[in-house]
Amino acid sequence: MSREEILSKVREAFVTILEHDNFKLADETTADDVDGWESVTHMMIITEVEKTFDIKFKLMDLMNMNNIADLLNTIESEL
């Protein structure tokens, strides 16, 4: 799967959980940049992404996940 395809699926997961699509996702995007992306929804997004790609994140990966690039890198490494 290409990085663009991964990003597009990640975006879908964000839209499903946040119930809006009023945001841009780029490598450097963090929770501060997206309305509604905070502690509670973060966990829901993570679960949604895990379902989408049929993967399971490790706590060690999650604790160092600071932006979208980190998320995409971790997904790539799990696929």
């Binding site: 905070e38 679960t47 706590l59």
Partner: protein, 498 residues
């Protein structure tokens, strides 16, 4: 004031130790002493003697922590406001406390209507930590919690109240911080739980580790446990609910104390969490803001101390000088094993809600005990005492709920939701438990579907983000109970959330 004097002694004695770790930068007690001295000098220079209630913008930096101590050394109280909360609400707080001066370490301050003390630009002065004399009745801080009328409700806490808390914790042989301890400070400084997570480390010469604003708290906490080898954790139970799916990956042998408070601790998760911390004592603390953070605890142990009611761990016994009393609706004590409202008395009780005689008449009462008048605070929590003398939590007596550890009056959310709505329809705010066991807010609207953008835009200017409902459902007709009240329990079933 003895505890302020002890703070001075601790800061001086531990000058080579680290006091704070903020976003991987360490600061020593010497750095801290310099910041405190600068800020208190500026406060003494600028602020009128009669001005006692000083605003404090709660940024995540050394100046903000130093400001609290600087104000105490000057015999003044801090009125904290969260920079992430709408300016309108924070201004309301300052209006209620008639605050004229605001200490703000932000690069540019938004508090243009006030005298701003920019705590990060004060020139260096000699270290001076000698406290001024204060009266025990003077205020140490005022915190504002959600109120039912749309106005935040102020809880003033005096120097004597804080002294009572310090005295009770120092008397507890099971809990002793040492200078080598590395302590989690996960709380926003507008939340009263933060008082124990900065005050006790400072008194002991230990180091505090903060959570950067905007970080995903529960993962950052795990990162600190793992990389910084924290030894003391003080948390709200919802944090471990989030980490629960990852418990098998957590083993933290360095943690020696883990204190919970600010919400119900469930026995199943307490047991599993305890497995992650093999060398740790777990305390289940209880206490409302009105009683200066803690009033007592239950010492949980997965094998020997597992007392619980409906799966919620006991809140144990009152701490030194604190009295617990369980009463019926006429404020009469109920027998052992009978549920009633828990009331608290002792040196940590607030003098009363800020300028709110009506609420004070409802929430406090006096009772004669051994020829003396004893003043009690009614917590709104339903509890009972068992025959062994332990207190057990049953539930809330009213519509106040806990969202991520914050107390929220559902009525306040309803008030703001209805305020700017074009459609005059009934709206009910509900706390809904998600599959992690945490409460999320839902808004039920008695109407055909319509666009709620305007309602939410308004709510976001009036309330902090944790008070904004995350789920909306339109229900054509609300279910009612026999006595004609909206059936909230049934309404919750409309919120099928993951």
């Amino acid at each position: 004031m003895e505890f302020v004097k002890k703070l001075q002694e601790s800061i001086e004695k531990h000058s080579n130790h680290n006091v704070l770790c903020i976003s991987n930068t360490f600061y020593t007690y010497k750095d801290f002493a310099i910041e405190v001295s600068k800020i208190r000098a500026e406060v003494a220079r600028v602020v009128d003697d009669a001005e006692k209630l000083i605003g404090l913008v709660t940024n995540d930096d050394i100046q903000t922590y130093a400001s609290i101590i600087a104000l105490w050394l000057e015999g003044k109280a801090y009125v904290p406001v969260n920079p992430a909360t709408p300016l309108e609400r924070n201004s309301k707080v300052f209006e209620l406390t008639e605050t004229k001066y605001v200490i703000d370490s932000s690069k540019t301050s938004v508090y243009n209507d006030y005298e701003v003390i920019s705590s990060h630009t004060i020139p260096e002065t000699a270290i001076s930590l000698e406290p001024k004399a204060v009266s025990g009745d003077d205020l140490a801080y005022i915190l504002f919690t959600s109120g039912t009328t749309g106005l935040p409700k102020g809880v003033p806490i005096t120097f004597d109240n804080v002294a009572g808390l310090v005295d009770a914790i120092e008397d507890e042989p099971e809990f002793n911080l040492v200078p080598s301890d590395r302590c989690l400070q996960m709380f926003e400084l507008t939340f009263d739980f933060s008082v124990v997570t900065y005050l006790f480390p400072l008194l002991a010469g230990s180091c505090m580790y903060t959570i950067p604003k905007g970080a995903i708290k529960y993962f950052y906490i795990f990162k600190l446990i793992k990389e910084q080898k924290l030894t003391v954790l003080t948390m709200v139970p919802s944090i471990i609910n989030y980490l629960r799916p990852y418990f098998p990956e957590i083993n933290a042998p360095d943690v020696r104390y883990c204190s919970f408070g600010g919400g119900a601790l469930h026995s199943d998760i307490a047991k599993e969490w305890s497995d992650c911390l093999p060398n740790c004592k777990i305390f289940n603390y209880y206490g409302p803001t009105e009683f200066t953070v803690y009033s007592g605890f239950y010492p949980y142990h997965k094998e020997t101390h597992t007392k619980a009611h409906n799966g919620i761990i006991a809140i144990g016994t009152p701490q030194k000088n604190t009295l617990y009393l369980v009463v019926d609706e006429n404020n009469q004590e109920v027998p052992v094993n009978v549920s009633g409202e828990l009331c608290l008395a002792g040196p940590q009780i607030t003098p009363g809600y800020w300028k709110n005689p009506k609420k004070n008449a409802q929430s406090f009462f006096t009772r004669e005990e051994n020829g003396k008048q004893v003043r009690y605070y009614k917590t709104g929590d339903l509890c009972f005492k068992d025959s062994a003398g332990d207190f057990l939590y049953v539930g809330r007596a009213d519509f106040q709920v806990k969202i991520r550890g914050y107390r929220v009056e559902l009525a306040e959310i309803e008030f703001h939701a209805k305020a700017k709505s074009d459609k005059k329809v009934n709206m009910v705010a509900l706390d809904i438990t998600n599959n992690l066991g945490n409460a999320e807010l839902g808004l039920a609207i008695e109407s055909e579907e319509f666009d709620t953008q305007k309602i939410f835009d308004h709510m976001k200017t009036q309330m902090p983000d944790y008070m904004i409902p995350m789920h909306v459902r339109f229900i054509k007709e609300f279910p009612h109970s026999i006595n004609g009240k909206v059936n909230r329990k049934e309404l919750k079933t409309y919120f099928d959330i993951k």
